[in-house]
């Protein structure tokens, strides 16, 4: 693995860190959820109404309790993942309400799209998890969406996945369902198996729904990503240092709450901060400033001793064009090379989180493969890798194509593109397919040949029974 590089000096880290602590102590954070207020009061923090003023030493003490890394367990142990340290976890986009088709069409995302994206992630060599809310299945009633989504992850793949955090009840459902899959709540408390996303409401607020979710995961000892999305220029300051200080304060406040509820609960420091486009007000994510926020966050997470979430194949493009490609490569590359561990939105996102695209998914999968190869870096560990002997054997003026050493090593040393075209002009011009057209053929082929890994029929029955029972109760 390549060493991860820092983008902030120690002095810059210090300045932003202290700015954040000052924000927490003097401006405070609003928590709308009463049980959270009770927790802070119990821990001796100053509370006025719903605003909590967090003491700097207290924050430092609580954040220290969070583990530096943890294992997330999959139903197939081969897909267990370590979140933290040098590791990196890729997964599909999260939360988009639309699907953009290859022909430029825009439509509401459905449950069928949901299953498809989970399968594509299940089939991918480069995506480690199937993610969560891979699209918003708008054809399913919201009361039971969380159950249908969790079922899709359970049945269509044996990789790790994410659960709902929208409110205490929905969060609990997903946790209990995962417990059914793994053999009980005590089992997953020992071996965490479900992770969720909790977002602050920038600037400086946490709302009921998210806090309900946070409490449920913390109580059950399940990990969560605590993230802040500062739109610099609108929901936060227009300077990078100011926006970063604000994001950092919010994330620290969230992590502090988790550690008050259940010390040692695994958490991930999350960053989705980006820019406001000052002509339209829309969020803009495919830019160097976003890459800087993400890289700085990775460094802050290292500073606090917790894993980091951020980045992805992020783009503002509306179709799979050059913009989609170069923006996504920049944001995924920056995240990956500066030490982000958990990359939501790795594949599929178009137009600042508003849409998923099947073609974009395949392009990002390719980008992910390229970046993963880059991260492996050079292997200088053996004589074989140093290749002195074969260089000697071939000598001046020869070639290496017919050497055993070549035949053996190129397969592991070279990244083999699944989508990129490396043919000659003549061969390519037979069909003249561009990336988007090739990506369309590719995902159709992958879906057609994918067989989901089998789920033990006894467990499957229990899972389905749980969903049926809860659905009835929720739809009453």
């Amino acid at each position: 693995m390549l060493p991860k590089f820092d983008i902030l000096t120690d002095e810059q880290i210090d300045k932003i860190h202290n700015n954040s602590l000052k924000i927490l102590q003097e401006i405070g954070v609003e928590f709308s959820y009463d049980p959270a207020i009770e927790v802070f009061k119990k821990h001796g923090q100053r509370v006025e109404g719903h605003r909590v003023f967090l003491d700097s030493d207290f924050v430092k003490k609580m954040v220290e309790k969070a583990p530096a890394q943890f294992t997330l367990h999959a139903r197939n142990p081969e897909h267990n993942l370590i979140c933290g340290g040098e590791n990196i976890i890729y997964m599909p986009g999260y939360g988009a309400p639309f699907v953009y088709d290859a022909d430029g069409g825009k439509r509401d995302a459905t449950m069928a799209d949901y299953d498809n994206f989970v399968k594509l992630a299940g089939a991918s060599k480069n995506l480690h998890m199937t993610g969560g809310t891979v699209v918003e299945p708008t054809d399913v009633e919201d009361e039971i969406r969380h159950l249908k989504m969790a079922y899709s992850h359970i049945i269509n793949s044996d990789k790790c996945f994410m659960g709902s955090s929208s409110g205490y009840e929905h969060a609990k459902d997903c946790i209990e369902l995962t417990a059914v899959l793994h053999g009980g709540l005590d089992v997953i408390k020992e071996k965490p198996a479900l992770i969720c996303l909790v977002n602050s409401v920038t600037p400086l607020k946490y709302d009921d729904r998210m806090l309900g979710g946070l409490m449920a995961y913390a109580e059950a000892g399940q990990p969560m990503v605590i993230a802040s999305l500062v739109m610099a220029g609108s929901t936060g300051p227009a300077t990078l240092a100011g926006a970063m200080s604000l994001q950092n304060a919010e994330v620290l406040a969230g992590i502090t709450l988790t550690q008050c509820i259940n010390p040692g609960t695994p958490v991930v420091y999350g960053c989705t901060s980006a820019l406001t486009d000052m002509s339209t007000g829309s969020l803009s994510i495919g830019n160097p400033e976003n890459a800087l926020f993400v890289s700085a966050s990775a460094q802050f997470a290292r500073f606090y001793g917790v894993p980091c979430r951020g980045g992805g194949g992020l783009s503002d493009a509306k179709t799979v064009d050059a913009q989609a490609g170069y923006e996504s490569m920049m944001t995924l590359f920056a995240a990956s090379s500066t030490g982000v561990n958990f990359v939501m939105h790795t594949a599929g996102i178009l137009q600042y989180y508003m849409a998923m695209s099947y073609e974009k998914f395949m392009v990002d999968d390719e980008i992910a493969g390229m970046v993963l190869r880059y991260l492996k870096g050079f292997d200088c560990d053996s004589d074989e890798k140093m290749a002195y002997e074969v260089i000697e054997k071939v000598g001046p003026g020869g070639h290496f194509l017919t050497q055993k050493h070549t035949r053996k090593n190129f397969k592991t040393e070279f990244f083999r593109p699944a989508l990129s075209d490396r043919q000659s002009f003549d061969s390519w011009s037979k069909d003249s397919l561009d990336t988007k057209q090739r990506a369309k053929l590719k995902w159709q082929e992958v879906l057609a040949s994918y067989t989901p890994p089998e789920l033990d029929p006894v467990i499957k029955e229990k899972v389905e029974a749980f969903i049926e029972k809860r659905s009835k109760e929720l739809l009453k």
């Binding site: 309400p97 708008t138 406001t276």
Partner: protein, 215 residues
């Protein structure tokens, strides 16, 4: 021409809310013609900003701060204008109640829509986030609005826009107000499905839509 009109115009262009209030207070105290202050000061200023916006020379903070300054200054003049002081009359282009629907707290887009409507000469009453159908209608009734504008950013709260239209139907008020909707996940089709009078994808289009509805 009284030099204060030029000062008011500049205050609006600079987005200087405090100065706009101060100058408006001076207009009232010194019994300067308020209609002229509006036409040659406030409106001149906001038109200049609007033109720069259309040309891509002005950015959101320019427009939104100008709209805030205009609103603050106009509030000061409201009483004297209502009393009919000054040569001629000043009337806004129409009153609009704007808010984010119940269950939804996204407000950046709504705020931008509000600012651009204000700068286009409409009088905007922003009731904030997480608002019930009743709240939109109560405010519209109170201020005599012609348009109710509802923003929603979540697929799960879009149905509150439908509830708003249904509520108006139930109250036999459907013909009293035009309802327009918008926000990220909404669409023209959604607007049509729920029987809204209009939908717009961007704030600029929202302004055009309101102009067209009040023609």
């Amino acid at each position: 021409m009284n030099p204060i009109f030029e000062e008011i115009k500049d205050a609006i262009v600079d987005g200087d809310e405090d100065l706009a209030i101060e100058l408006a207070e001076k207009v009232v105290e010194e019994k300067i013609d308020p209609v002229q202050a509006v036409q040659l000061g406030f409106i001149k200023g906001i038109e200049e900003v609007g033109a720069a916006w259309t040309n891509g020379e002005a950015f959101l903070p320019d427009v939104m701060m100008a709209a805030d300054a205009m609103k603050a200054g106009m509030d000061v003049l409201e009483a004297v204008l209502a009393a009919g002081e000054g040569e001629g009359t000043y009337e806004d282009k129409g009153k609009i109640v704007l808010g984010t629907v119940e269950g939804d707290i996204h407000d950046i887009g709504k705020n931008i829509v509000g600012a651009l409507l204000t700068s286009a000469g409409f009088k905007v009453y922003d009731i904030g986030i997480d608002q019930k159908a009743e709240d939109f209608v109560a405010k519209a009734d109170e201020v005599g609005a012609k348009i109710i504008a509802a923003s929603s950013l979540l697929t799960t709260t879009m149905k509150s826009q439908k509830v708003l239209v249904e509520y108006l139907d139930d109250q036999n008020l459907r013909d009293t107000y035009k309802v327009i909707i918008g926000g990220g996940p909404t669409s023209k089709k959604w607007g049509e499905d729920i029987g809204a009078d209009g939908w717009a994808e961007t704030a600029d289009e929202a302004v055009a839509l309101c102009k067209q509805l009040l023609e």
